[in-house]
């Protein structure tokens, strides 16, 4: 559970990025955070990753108070998060496999475990064939899926996606959100920041709208909102986004993350 209580953030330069935010994101929830540039989305994410501390108020993530957490405990806390960036942040001179493995190596995971886990998360993202490729040989959508695989590598229970569809074409955008949905179905909390209202409308999920540092709307799905405004967004979206073919995510979606880990250990052989 993620809880923001009376959270305000004012930067040294005087910018009042967030004003008295109160919200709770339950474990296993899927939340879109929407807002235009300057609305406070990035600050919201930074606070959640403990990259910044609030000027006032408290933030609690799974019983960890981020305003009181010790500095040396921050890396450990971050291992519970899987972060996906708009610009993918893949290392160009590493293969897809190594990019995913990198996230595990830098927290000291044994090579043996990496050798089992990486192919598994790559298979979840449908990237097994691309393991030996370099990022620049992949499309934007594929690169973002590698980034997602990396976010999953350490078994994160919260995925934070910052504009994950910002640099990919509309069809891929849909696919990526769909992947996030599937991870969410498997029990992972997903928080996705975006400014693409049209994309959000495709999915019937909780939407938090930020504007000038305030939460101006929380909870209502944009699908329903749009329906009341005499537009049929779903057909519009279906026209824009071809629904991707089904892939087999059963190993991940049918079980908890612990089971997924078990799957990883056995190498998915059974």
């Amino acid at each position: 559970m993620i809880q923001f209580k009376n959270v305000s953030k004012k930067y040294d330069n005087g910018t009042h990025a967030l004003k008295d935010i109160n919200l709770t994101i339950e474990k296993g929830e899927f939340v879109f955070v929407v807002g235009s540039s300057g609305a406070g989305k990035s600050t919201f994410l930074k606070l959640m990753m403990r990259e910044e501390v609030p000027s006032s108020g408290t933030i609690v993530v799974d019983d960890i108070d981020l305003t009181k957490i010790k500095k040396r405990d921050i890396p450990k806390f971050r291992r519970r998060l899987g972060i996906v960036f708009q610009d993918f942040r893949l290392i160009p001179n590493m293969t897809v496999f190594d990019n995913v493995a990198f996230a595990m190596r830098v927290i000291g995971t044994k090579e043996k475990k990496i050798g089992r886990r990486v192919p598994y998360v790559l298979s979840l993202m449908g990237l097994n064939e691309k393991a030996r490729n370099f990022p620049q040989e992949l499309s934007g959508g594929e690169q973002q899926r590698v980034a997602l695989a990396r976010a999953l590598a350490n078994n994160a229970d919260i995925i934070i996606a910052d504009e994950p569809t910002g640099n990919v074409d509309p069809q891929m955008s849909y696919e990526i959100v769909d992947l996030l949905m599937r991870l969410n179905e498997a029990g992972t909390t997903v928080i996705m920041v975006t400014h693409e209202h049209s994309l959000v409308r495709c999915f019937d999920k909780r939407v938090i709208i930020l504007d000038k540092g305030n939460v101006v709307s929380d909870g209502g799905s944009l699908v329903r909102e749009a329906a009341t405004s005499h537009i049929n967004p779903v057909s519009e979206i279906e026209h824009r986004y071809d629904v991707p073919p089904e892939e087999d995510y059963s190993a991940y979606t049918q079980g908890t993350s612990a089971q997924a880990e078990e799957f990883a250990v056995t190498g998915g052989a059974e």
């Binding site: 990035s42 600050t43 040396r72 350490n154």
Partner: protein, 304 residues
Amino acid sequence: MGNLRYLTKEGFRNLKVNKLMSVASVTVLFSCLMLIGIAFMILVNIQSFISGIEAENVIMVYADLDASDYEYMALGNELNALDNITSVEAVEKEAAYEEILAEMDENLRIYLSGLDENPLPDAYRVTVTDMSRFENVVNEIKKLDGIERVYENSSLAKQLEGIRDSVTYISLGIIILLLIVSLFIISNTIKVTMFSRRLEISIMKSVGATNSFIRWPFMVEGIIIGVIAGILATGAVWAVYEFALTSFTSVLTGLGSGVQVSFLDYALYLVAAFVGIGIFTGIFGSATSIRKYLKERKFVELED
């Protein structure tokens, strides 16, 4: 253990990725260390040269030419009775004469050996214990009877000591200055490496790598630069020193110094010191820049 191997490998990779920068910093650090080494060897040589002169800094006490054997012996006893004396060695005129003849040019020797009389007086070679009270001893000796002449070169020793002190201070100053320069060079290289690897660092931070894990490869990089520069610098100092020795040997022996310092006596110290300096600058040079970097740099560089 596996981690350590991985991190060390990463350090080597850093070096390879920034080849040009690595070569540049090894070169500059190497130059610094070489200058430190040369300053050090000059210092050691001057020290040894002066100690050589100091060790020779005995007082020659010449007895009156017409002194009897008894008077000569009495003078010896009086010298022995003085304070702050390590030894009093009798130099009888016959022996001294032989010695001089032996050192002489052959023609001159033939000429001198024709002399009937030994022109030298009997003498004593007095060695002083505490150099700071050297002049007191000289004055005491001068007060004794039956002395023809007292010969000593304390003033030369004093002058040399003054030189030694300034040389020591200057060398130390140079060494410290170069050390600081070395630190800057290493930390600069590490800064460049970190900048070129900022993407990786931001990913490392975002997936929860500890700061020490992030730091280690950069430290390894600094240490490798230091060690390579250190070993090269030792070799270079050796070469320069040997070259200088062969070039200046004649000058040095002319100065009466048979106290040439062998490089090999100091090679081990130099290697140890250089590698030590390399490791030290590697660790501190990188630590300071990394700390600053990790503190200032956020991994989510997003615009709101």
